[in-house]
């Protein structure tokens, strides 16, 4: 077991990448601590599966290095890396029994048969497969098959990390929650590094201690679920995480002030001096936008009931915004006044939080 380090990693599927769009993965540096529960979150086509396959060794990166601990494994094939991977669609060896499926990785590595049985039984116990050990794997349901895939990963004691590539895609909704809890529980019992790729924020935020958000072949932010929610480093993170996502309003910076349509806003982060160039936006989450007595006037377009609160859609300074309103608060139909809390209002330049990465 070891820390996984990705150093100056870049990948392109084309032989001669020219424009930025030719890169499936733009240059990134990442460290995955030993025993951590990570999620790799992003929309389809953002490069997260590419990244996963580079870690497991199914794909060789065109630039950069992959280190396990201090060993450079960039050129090692998957079977030498001590990595397990669970795929989107369940992969089981149809002609074998569940037992033989779980024993397969051990037998391939020449583990003595006397050691195979107790290990397989132990893993079957963890993954709730004990009752089915002697049935044919082809007859199982999708979630049973995913458990076999997972079990094949856990069965090897020398595994550095277990990678999950959207493992719940084909699972029935009511079983998804169950399997996710099982994963979480297994991570507590078997403290191995787990990297979970998904486009579903609920899956990512409930499973992982650290979430890596990717967009267009780039890592936009790495952090705990709280950090991603409270302090998005990029408007994309604000948008993608949270439901509804962060409100983003185009603005300009004039003489060190943030201005939207003539109104000056105060923000939590630093505002550049003078009249800098670039595309500026302010972002505030619907949770922190409040109806108040003094502030910016807005008209109410619609109100939707979402259970414990309501989601109001308003027009403010010509921009459509969303805010969460508690059940008991009244929403005047003829217009409201909005309070932009400076502690939760942030300025972004070209998408990125100012004062951070530019």
């Amino acid at each position: 077991m070891a820390k996984i380090t990705l150093s100056k990693l870049k990948h392109s599927y084309l032989p001669d990448p020219v424009s930025p769009d030719d890169w499936a993965l733009k240059e990134l540096n990442l460290e995955w601590q030993d025993g951590g529960a990570y999620a790799l979150l992003g929309p389809s086509g953002c490069g997260k599966t590419t990244l996963l396959n580079i870690i497991s060794g199914l794909l060789k990166p065109s630039h950069g290095k992959v280190l396990f601990g201090t060993d450079d494994v960039t050129d090692l094939p998957p079977e030498k890396r001590h990595i397990a991977q669970v795929f989107q669609f369940p992969v089981v060896y149809d002609t074998m029994t569940v037992f033989d499926n779980l024993a397969f990785p051990l037998r391939n590595r020449g583990v003595a048969e006397s050691k195979v049985r107790p290990r397989v039984e132990q893993i079957a116990g963890m993954t709730d497969l004990t009752d089915m050990l002697n049935t044919r794997a082809s007859g199982l349901t999708a979630d049973g098959k995913q458990k076999i895939s997972l079990g094949r990963g856990l069965v090897r004691e020398d595994v550095n990390a277990i990678l999950f590539d959207e493992p719940l895609t084909v699972i029935d909704p009511h079983l998804k929650f169950q399997l996710r809890s099982k994963l979480k529980e297994l991570h507590h019992r078997v403290p191995k590094t787990m990297i979970y790729v998904t486009h579903d924020q609920t899956e990512a935020l409930t499973f992982a201690d650290t979430v890596v958000v990717m967009n267009m072949g780039e890592v936009v932010q790495t952090g705990t679920p709280e950090e991603l929610f409270e302090n998005p480093q990029h408007t994309f993170v604000g948008h993608f995480i949270g439901s509804p996502g962060m409100n983003v309003i185009p603005c300009s910076v004039e003489n060190g002030h943030v201005v939207v349509d003539g109104v000056i806003f105060r923000t939590q982060n630093d505002v550049p001096q003078g009249n800098p160039k670039g595309t500026f936006e302010i972002g505030i989450r619907p949770e922190f936008l409040k109806i108040a007595d003094i502030g910016v006037p807005a008209t109410v377009n619609s109100v939707a009931d979402a259970g414990r609160f309501r989601i109001a859609e308003v027009t403010c300074l010509g921009h459509s915004l969303k805010l969460l309103v508690p059940e008991d608060q009244e929403i005047p139909a003829d217009g409201v006044v909005l309070d932009f809390d400076p502690n939760w209002t942030r300025l972004y330049r070209n998408g990125w939080l100012t004062g951070g990465k530019d």
Binding site: E79, I83, Q85, F104, N108
Partner: protein, 287 residues
């Protein structure tokens, strides 16, 4: 898929039923009719019961052709199936070369059977054929029109040339239907090349290979035109397979009774062997 019970579906089947019944039942009845009668010419027929069947089943000649037929079918299956699978495994999975391979490989399948025979006849002629001439130049005493061994060698080589592509196409269709994730999982599980073949590729090809073997079995048992054109059943009777023998009896000697009885026995053997094979191959799936 759940199918609904609907007896009106029979109406959909009627056109097929009429066509096939007309082509299968009427001629089959004719054959059955001949098989139980004796004729002395002049269209006079006498009931002869099962005499013809007994005669055929006891005849040395039938045993000999049946034996040759079994050796032929056994040999070509033993060569074509493994060879076809091997070629399919080595074929590219995507890209421009796939089409090139498929088109070129399918060509022998679309050549009329007697042209196949004629082509090989010319190709293997010891004096002017490319293969025959080459073999003789290299010091082999090769002459398929005179030597039994050479005739068999040429016959089997021709069938391998003609039909291996069918196995390749089927096996290839089975292979390309395997998702990449299976190969990736096997790599991660540390599976050897053999284990990948044994536990992933072979199980996924099983269904198409069943079709391939069944088709090759049926068609090789029915083979007539190619060997007739190539060797004419000779030298002597050494390459006279069942169909050739049957036509010799029926049209050559006009012994309709024995020919008809032989036809039926022949047909029953194919049905029986196909049924056994089919049952064995599909039995495991039901478990």
């Amino acid at each position: 898929m759940n199918k609904t019970l609907n007896q009106k579906a029979w109406f959909f089947v009627i056109p097929v039923l009429v066509l096939v019944a007309f082509n299968a039942i009427v001629p089959l009845m004719t054959v059955v009719n001949y098989s139980v009668q004796e004729t002395f010419g002049n269209n006079q027929f006498f009931w002869s019961g099962l005499t013809w069947f007994q005669e055929i089943l006891r005849s040395e000649r039938f045993h000999a052709s049946l034996q040759r037929q079994l050796i032929f079918t056994g040999s070509i299956l033993a060569i074509e199936v493994p060879l076809g699978v091997m070629i399919a495994l080595a074929m590219p999975r995507k890209g421009f070369w796939v089409s090139v391979c498929l088109v070129l490989m399918a060509m022998p399948l679309l050549i009329p059977w007697n042209v196949v025979g004629a082509m090989w006849n010319i190709f293997a002629l010891p004096n002017i054929g490319l293969m025959g001439k080459m073999l003789n130049d290299w010091g082999f005493d090769y002459n398929y029109t005179r030597q039994v061994g050479d005739a068999w060698f040429t016959l089997i080589l021709m069938d391998v040339w003609h039909w291996t592509s069918l196995v390749v196409l089927l096996a290839y269709a089975g292979l390309v239907s395997i998702p990449d994730a299976y190969y990736q999982a096997a790599k991660i599980d540390g599976a050897s090349r053999w284990a990948v073949f044994r536990y992933i590729q072979l199980p996924k090809m099983k269904r198409v290979l069943t079709i391939a073997i069944l088709l090759r079995f049926m068609d090789s048992f029915n083979i007539y035109t190619e060997p007739v054109v190539l060797t004419g059943g000779g030298p002597g009777n050494s390459t006279t397979l069942l169909s050739i023998d049957l036509v010799k009896i029926a049209l050559g000697q006009f012994d309709l009774g024995p020919a008809a009885a032989m036809s039926l026995i022949y047909f029953l053997i194919i049905l029986l062997l196909s049924w056994i094979f089919y049952t064995v191959m599909t039995r495991n799936e039901d478990q």
